[in-house]
């Protein structure tokens, strides 16, 4: 199929992150001529593996694959494009300062261990996980659709709304009532209702606030927990791609190219070009202009609208909504190069290779969050830790190891500034880890801390938020990213969005990219 109107490309995709690549692959599969423009020298955006110390490589942001639906892996044949998994079904362990670590698995021996510590919690945990599974099954399909608009005559909007209603109705009276009861709650109250062990509550609370700007007592955190569960439904185990998350991006790029798309790295888009009130192409920082019938941006909404497109092409009310989008990150990433494998007393080898949570109680998280509200960091931070070299030794020189940790909470506008505080915070994080691994400090040979401003700079995400925009009720589903751009369509004809700022959000899911491609294909049909 030749491009429309004599143009070389039908569609330009701005940004070669996982969503941009997924979108490009699906568009190319539909017969379109697609060009992906990535600013960095390698594809992947924030889903990238990069060297942080000589010989030590790590996934720069997300370090585990958890939410990408198997259907995308299958449809794009990612296994044939070189995606290999170094580890699957990674266990999650809540670390206890006294060494009484707790596995969060539902496997028999783990449940038995939990029962021996607190029989009530073991029963409650199984019951809770089964409720979450039922709700996740009901909500999961919602992630795959273009969010409907309210108050239109469009049959597609009505069908989508009916579909959402029908799925919720199918939950049955008891589950629906419980969903409505807990849906707007804070996770702290929910956990107080159901559980006793502080360690268990801390671990569950962490999953509700990881990557967000919230603490366990913030309203809407049950929603984020359920949403994460819904996204994980159907796949859901924690997976570590061989070579880090960057291999996933490379496989996606190969899938896009195999489908006929072109991918250009080192191509910084400076401006979306507008002609006759339509997106007509882009201008690169090099001065080169490329024309196309449609432009799809996987950049965050603020970058797309305020910087690349320009306010003069948008209505003032829309621009105000984009400006007010909450998009500041509160999550940092710590990378440590280790001379040898540190000891974590009380952890077996399997647990050590999985997710290790440092959040001994929900209150511990809330206290850490308190500081963040005032642009400070807590001396007792919250971490999700992995040691990726255990499953994938190639990430570090022979015998060496890498520790990768997601850190809550790291304010974007840190009091005193990041350049002055970076070393102090890094030391504090190592001290925190050393409480669980006494010899860790002596193993550290190099470290890197990516605070939200670093993430903003390196990955060109305005505000440095992993999800591009906070996943909260008012920036959710039919309201994501902002009214007026909720269906992957910008107010300007020919311009689409496909990034994490769109429904269903970020987290290396790829669904925003696929949904956007489908919306565009549908519109053209």
């Amino acid at each position: 199929m030749s491009a429309a109107g004599g143009l070389r490309y039908d569609s330009l995709v701005i940004g070669g992150g996982h969503n941009g690549l997924v979108c490009a692959a699906y568009l190319a599969r539909s017969g379109r001529r697609v060009l992906v423009l990535e600013a960095a020298s390698q594809v992947g955006g924030a889903a990238v593996t990069r060297e942080f110390a000589p010989g030590f490589r790590v996934s720069a942001c997300a370090h585990l694959l958890h939410l990408m639906p198997p259907s995308i892996v299958r449809e794009l044949s990612l296994d044939r494009q070189g995606l290999e998994l170094a580890a699957t079904d990674l266990p999650t362990t809540a670390l206890d300062p006294e060494g009484e670590h707790l596995s969060l698995s539902l496997a028999t021996d783990a449940v038995r261990a939990l029962r021996s510590r607190c029989a009530a919690d073991a029963a409650a945990y199984e019951e809770w996980q089964s409720l979450v599974a039922r709700i996740a099954a009901a909500l999961h399909p919602v992630l795959n659709i273009t969010p409907p608009r309210l108050g239109t005559e469009d049959w597609r909007d009505r069908m989508a709304l009916l579909g959402v209603g029908w799925r919720l109705r199918r939950l049955g009276r008891r589950d629906l009532r419980e969903l409505l009861r807990i849906g707007g709650m804070c996770v702290h109250d929910l956990l107080e209702d159901r559980f006793r062990l502080p360690l268990l509550k801390g671990a569950l609370a962490l999953d509700a606030v990881l990557g967000t700007n919230y603490g366990p007592r913030s309203p809407g955190t049950v929603l984020s927990l359920l949403y994460r569960a819904a996204a994980a439904h159907g796949g859901g185990s924690f997976v570590q791609p061989a070579g880090g998350l960057g291999s996933l991006s490379e496989a996606l790029a190969r899938a896009a190219v195999a489908a006929g798309a072109e991918v250009r790295t080192g191509s910084i888009v400076e401006r979306i070009l507008v002609s006759d009130d339509r997106a007509a192409g882009v201008r690169l920082a090099s001065g080169e202009t490329i024309s196309a019938a449609t432009v799809i941006s996987s950049a965050d909404p603020k970058t797309t609208f305020l910087r690349l497109l320009g306010c003069e092409h948008l209505d003032a009310g829309f621009v105000r909504r984009v400006t007010q989008l909450r998009s500041r990150g509160l999550t940092a990433k710590l990378h440590l190069a280790l001379a040898r494998l540190p000891e974590f007393p009380g952890l077996d080898a399997a647990a050590l290779g999985g997710r290790l949570l440092i959040a001994p109680s929900a209150d511990y998280i809330e206290r850490a969050y308190n500081y963040a509200k005032y642009d400070e960091f807590s001396s007792a931070p919250v971490l999700e830790v992995t040691l990726p070299t255990l499953a994938d030794a190639a990430l570090a020189p022979e015998g060496r190891h890498v520790l990768s940790a997601i850190v809550q909470y790291a304010p974007y506008t840190l009091a005193g500034g990041w350049s002055a505080q970076r070393q102090r915070f890094t030391e504090l994080l190592i001290d925190t880890l050393a409480r669980y691994s006494p010899d860790l400090r002596e193993c550290v040979t190099a470290s890197e801390l990516l605070a939200p401003p670093d993430i903003e700079r390196e990955f060109r995400i305005s505000g440095g938020h992993w999800h591009h925009a906070e996943l909260a009720l008012d920036q959710f589903f039919m309201l994501r990213p902002v009214p007026g751009a909720t269906q992957y369509r910008a107010p300007l004809a020919g311009l689409f969005l496909c990034g994490a700022g769109c429904h269903p959000g970020g987290g290396v899911m790829g669904l925003a990219g696929r949904n956007a491609a489908q919306a565009l294909i549908r519109e053209a049909a």
Binding site: D277, C311, E312, L314, D315, A316, G317, R320, P491
Partner: protein, 405 residues
């Protein structure tokens, strides 16, 4: 980037620099609030004040008109994105009437833009707009400052207004064309001359000017006008008389003929410029402006309603009357927003919003008028013909030079 004026909440209602003069002339003490100021509703009698507008000259204090100074590199780009008209043609010394809309293409307000110099403008509006202006300024290098209380404003309107201004020494006033403004000197015998910015603009549909000055110059200017005007039938007028004149001229009043889309709560009560007969102000060819895409869509499907002028039978003004398609009053066609008996046209006129299908000139609708006849209420269904606006448009309003009396 943006600064706000002094906080209005400190004084519930401010007094304009003309207030003391107005108060001494007011026989009814009839003041009403207007944009945070006290404003005269009626001085003595509405009819006398009205006839000063049409037969001599009138002074109307429009200081409460909200004024913004808009300047900066992007001032023109900002205004062209804000309003529906193409202001790139607006040269220094010119004034343009324009409107602005929200994203949905619904009218927020109308007003006049004065081009003071390249990249330097003044926007005069009926209602406060700072919130919307700030939203519209995102992404533009522009400074927006409310200057309402820094500028005293006085409308001098009526067939003898040019002569009156000449009489206080404004040399060359007769050369000022409609929608032009210039700074003229008002000489004084015992003090330095006063620099008056004069624009040939107004809200009466008659020959007239608006004077913009420093608040300290307000009383000397008022006194000079009243002194030469005392033998020429010049009167200070209140809002009620002005309202009669503006209905005759077919001008719209916010909160009366339309409610700003910034204030409407009920769906369907906002109005688009196309519905209000202001389509001539909408320039689709100038590039993007807020509401353009919505207005294009509305234009394609046709506006749902239309503002029309009505010639109502009988002499009783059709205040707030519902309009029907037939005398039986079964199917509503719209409703009247403004109505008066026009003393100059000798017609019973009204402005009304009607469903678009009834908006053809010459169509007959029926107005349901309620009359209070010595406390006995009566209801009359009278024919109302859709007519062209304005109802009154004397040639003198545009004549340059104006007649020299």
């Amino acid at each position: 980037m943006l600064t706000e004026s002094q906080p209005h909440f400190r004084q519930p209602l401010l007094r304009t620099p003309f207030h003391e003069r107005a108060r001494s002339l007011s026989q009814l003490d009839s003041f009403i609030p207007w944009s945070g100021y006290t404003s005269v509703d009626v001085f003595t009698s509405v009819e006398q004040e009205y006839f000063a507008i049409r037969n001599a000259s009138s002074l109307y204090d429009l200081t409460p008109m909200v004024k913004y100074r808009i300047s900066g590199t992007d001032a023109l780009r900002f205004l062209n994105r804000l309003t529906t008209r193409d202001l790139s043609k607006l040269a220094p010394g010119r004034v343009a009437y324009t409107v602005w809309c929200n994203d949905e293409g619904q009218l927020i307000d109308d007003g006049t833009v004065f081009c003071l110099a390249a990249g330097d403008y003044r926007l005069c509006t009926a209602e406060w707009q700072l919130d919307w202006l700030r939203a519209s300024a995102i992404g533009f290098d522009v400074e927006i400052r409310e200057v309402t209380d820094e500028i005293a404003a006085l409308a001098v309107q009526g067939p003898t207004s040019c002569k009156l201004l000449k009489s206080i020494g404004l040399a060359g006033i007769e050369r000022l064309k409609p929608f032009e403004h210039a700074t003229l000197a008002m000489p004084r015998t015992s003090a330095a001359p006063i620099a008056l910015q004069v624009s040939r603009t107004g809200f009466t549909g008659d020959l007239g000017y608006e004077l913009w000055m420093s608040p300290t110059d307000a009383e000397p200017v008022w006194d000079a006008l009243m002194e030469v005007g005392s033998t020429r039938g010049v009167r200070a007028i209140g809002s009620r008389a002005l309202n009669m004149a503006r209905i005759e001229a077919g001008f719209l009043l916010p909160r009366v003929d339309f409610v700003s889309a910034a204030h409407t709560l009920l769906p369907g009560t906002e109005r688009s410029p196309l519905e209000l007969g202001l389509g001539w102000l909408v320039d689709f060819g100038k590039g993007h402006f807020t509401g353009r895409r919505a207005l294009l869509a509305e234009k394609a499907r046709g506006p749902r309603r239309q503002l029309v002028g009505l010639d109502v039978a009988g002499q009783k003004p059709a205040h707030a009357a519902l309009l029907y398609t037939s005398r039986s009053g079964t199917r509503q066609a719209g409703s009247v927003t403004s109505a008066i008996w026009s003393p100059t046209c000798k017609r019973n006129i009204a402005l009304a919003i009607v469903d678009a299908v009834h908006a053809t000139t010459g169509a007959t609708l029926w107005a349901d008028i309620y009359l209070n006849r010595e406390l006995v209420w009566e209801r009359r269904m009278v024919p109302a013909r859709v007519v062209e606006r304005p109802f009154y448009a004397p040639a003198r309003r545009r004549a340059t030079p104006p007649a020299d009396f």
